[in-house]
Symmetry: C3
Subunit: 359 residues, 3 copies
């Protein structure tokens, strides 16, 4: 039984296979309309995320299956203090596959370890959101015809943007990717991404504060929102905010085959007037997210005999050190072992939230 | 692609066709049980309304379709500041038809302008609630056999009652309708309805404070609730409230074929003892609401090639004046044009909330 | 038309028939996959209970039916002051069977009296929760092969535990049942259960404060949680709490074919390490709960012509005395008669909440 907690749980070949399935679904939806007849998806949303939840639900319904679940923790047994492990053992009696959204980092991994049905991470705090990244990859593939040899700009909040880090990691497995990282000084990509992912993969990149400067060379522009709360200096926020808003004027210098992505919801970081430009692909991303969720549900329901993809790794430290990340699921889950995996000589990371151990 | 925002979006002929379909569904439900197989209704309820939501959901399920959605704004992306326009562009990727409830007046029209699927207004603030009016019309038609030549009493809060104004407008297109408007002085039908709708259509009407006085002549009695909050003078409320409660005693002087309607929920404005009287039709209204929603969903899904029924009208003023209604969707929706339509020489109304322009 | 408000609404023979159906569903699910095609279950949850709601929903979906409803009162019309009676009259237009959870004792009986479709009580305050008891009975039957000649221990909060009282009452109709009631002094089974149910049925029982002492003789151990709030003396709570936590150590002296039940959610009253012991049956209970709900839905939908099982009893006092239970539905429901049934000479109980009349 396979679960998908992180995009990197899937090999490049498996991602290509999902893309192929998604494209076939797009062209021949009628061939898939009964594929999951009699199967049930449980959408366990411990925090609200309408877009993601409805995307999963639409995906399952278009496969002929049905849906049960909840849309926020207030109407779940979690409010009675039930552990994630118990919740998914119960849900395993009711459904065939789980999509879980949880504010605690690592909660879906706890779920995968305890459920007897596949678990898909639908977002765990600031940690992972693999089906968003799969939507991004399918959109690039459908629009550009490839996932390699692309200059990809990321713009906005690159420090806290979970979708940004996740897509960079996913792209690091392809060749010929150049990155342009466009952000204010305060919101640059963190060192563990530039050093641990980008340099590790040998991807060329440059950083800039100017979207206009970067625009002409980009094949893909991934926009994100800059939130006022992220700035220690409000004057700095006021000075900068307009320069990271995408307008038709800024798009004027872009390539004619640029594609603009955004994980949504958008507030005002892309002018509504851009929506009608053929380069705006963020609503296509929504459709592609549904298609990739359909492909992933099909894959996992068809592979129930495969071994668990998330065993405790060899050489793990069990209950020797404690995770210090206050958002980690280990802080609240009853009787959960503290498990750290070796990632480099002398370096360990929590298997749930991937925080580095402080030894 | 057609959307229904207001009852008057439908011609008298179209309403008759919906009534015919609804009556056929009532008699031959099995003929409709697979009509919407593979289709999805999205119920986007930005404020709770269980009855209306479940009526739409039951309607879609009885047509063989399925349902996704949310039941209040707290579990929607709106809490993250997403615009109505973006929300429905996203939902257009997930569903085939939208039923939208929104506290902001005009929100469903914004939805109709941006969705690529039909939108049904399931109530927008104090503005419109067309499927309630369709339920009222079907009930009158099924019980009385006609929609003309009727004396119709409206009782209770006629000032703020959205369903009252809407049914009066709908009835104004039929011949031989006489109105009896029964309310306390403070809650009389507003001038824009008496002058703009009733007199315009040449409908005879009289106003009275006494339900007992009006009772004997009525063919239809439409009850509504009087809320204490509506009164500036609480003594006045206490003095009046019992006189607008329908009891078996007050019904004694009514015609034997009177029908009593109420949009529900009722609190205490109709005694529970009236429920068993054959003239009580308010629970039949509930069933009829479901049937009309079935008919309307069928109509809209079958008419996706028809042109948009809500274009910007000729002669509209765009961004020249601002809507002053604090409940209008234009107050909050990002980058939404202010659009006013001419309704009479020198008179303009906001296309979203229909407030008159102050020029 | 039959409704199930209390487990005792079902005869021993009917319960055996439900058990037989549930076991057949477990072995031949495909035979039931279309049994409720075109039927709708309404889950009316006036307070959240995810496990119970999802169990009902999964049950209906596995029978080929569909589901509408709400998961808490905030998104229901109850927040607008609508009565239970009106709500279920409306829902009777939308669905074929109701599962109702309500914080008010007796609300499901009010529903059964007013709905034109069957009502299943999914828990009404501290009063009844019959489908939990049906799950318990099926689990005992499947695991032990019988419902008689068993020594059954109940451990924890036996004073307030609704599931405990209900299962004791259900077991009192079988022969050869011995009870061991394990609790702190403050949380002993109340007198109306020991006198009114246990002694009445002639069941042998003993009370003890020690789980370890009771363990060796038990065939069934029913665990419940002890809540700190139940203790007037916190020191007493601290002194006692660990002795009512089930651990592998305490299990060491148990029979090898003991079965451990728990209504869930568990917080910490059973160590997670016990979960892997073959005697731990609380997650099997979850599966069995779904199976019994399937059997019950099938039974009620197949018996719509049977007479109402909850008529006003002969000799009832109507509006002569008032119920004094502050949690009773009669305290809030509009125009609801106060009805007391005779249960012994000179003794009356409220038909809604079963509180004894104070005359």
């Amino acid at each position: 039984m396979r679960s998908v907690i992180d995009t990197l749980d899937l090999t490049v070949e498996e991602i290509q296979s999902l893309i192929d399935t998604a494209e076939d679904i797009a062209h021949n939806p009628q061939n898939y309309a009964e594929k999951c007849k009699g199967k049930k998806l449980a959408t366990l949303f411990f925090e609200p995320s309408t877009r993601t939840r409805l995307s999963f639900e639409a995906a399952m319904l278009e496969l002929g299956g049905s849906v049960i679940g909840f849309s926020d923790a207030g109407s779940s047994s979690a409010s009675k203090g039930e552990s994630v492990a118990d919740t998914v053992k119960v849900i395993s009696c009711y459904a065939d596959v789980i999509a879980m959204r949880h504010p605690r980092e690592g909660a879906p991994l706890v779920a995968a370890h305890n459920a007897s049905i596949p678990v898909i991470n639908a977002g765990d705090g600031g940690h992972c959101h693999p089906t968003q990244t799969l939507a991004d990859l399918l959109t690039i593939h459908r629009e550009k015809g490839r996932l390699d040899n692309l200059t990809v700009g990321f713009c906005g909040d690159l420090k806290y943007g979970r979708t940004v880090h996740s897509l960079i990691a996913a792209l690091s497995r392809y060749t010929g990717i150049k990155l342009v990282l466009i952000s204010p000084e305060e919101l640059r990509v963190p060192g563990y991404v530039t050093k641990g992912v980008i340099n590790e993969a040998g991807m060329p990149y440059r950083e800039t504060e100017s979207l206009e400067d970067a625009m002409p060379e980009l094949d893909v522009l991934y926009m994100t929102r800059i939130q006022r709360e992220r700035f220690s200096d409000i004057d700095e926020y006021e000075r900068l905010k307009d320069s990271y808003i995408l307008t038709l004027e800024k798009l004027a210098s872009a390539k004619s085959d640029l594609i603009v992505l955004h994980p949504l919801p958008r507030v005002n970081e892309i002018s509504v007037k851009v929506d009608d430009d053929p380069r705006a692909c963020y609503f296509k991303q929504v459709m592609n997210g549904k298609l990739m969720r359909m492909a992933l549900i099909l894959k996992l329901l068809g592979a129930v005999d495969e071994p668990d993809s998330h065993p405790i790794p060899d050489g793990a430290l069990i209950n020797e050190i404690c995770c210090h990340n206050p958002a980690c699921i280990t802080k609240v889950e009853q009787e959960l072992d503290q498990v750290f995996k070796p990632v480099a000589p002398g370096v360990y990371r929590c298997i749930y939230c991937e925080s580095k151990a402080k030894i």
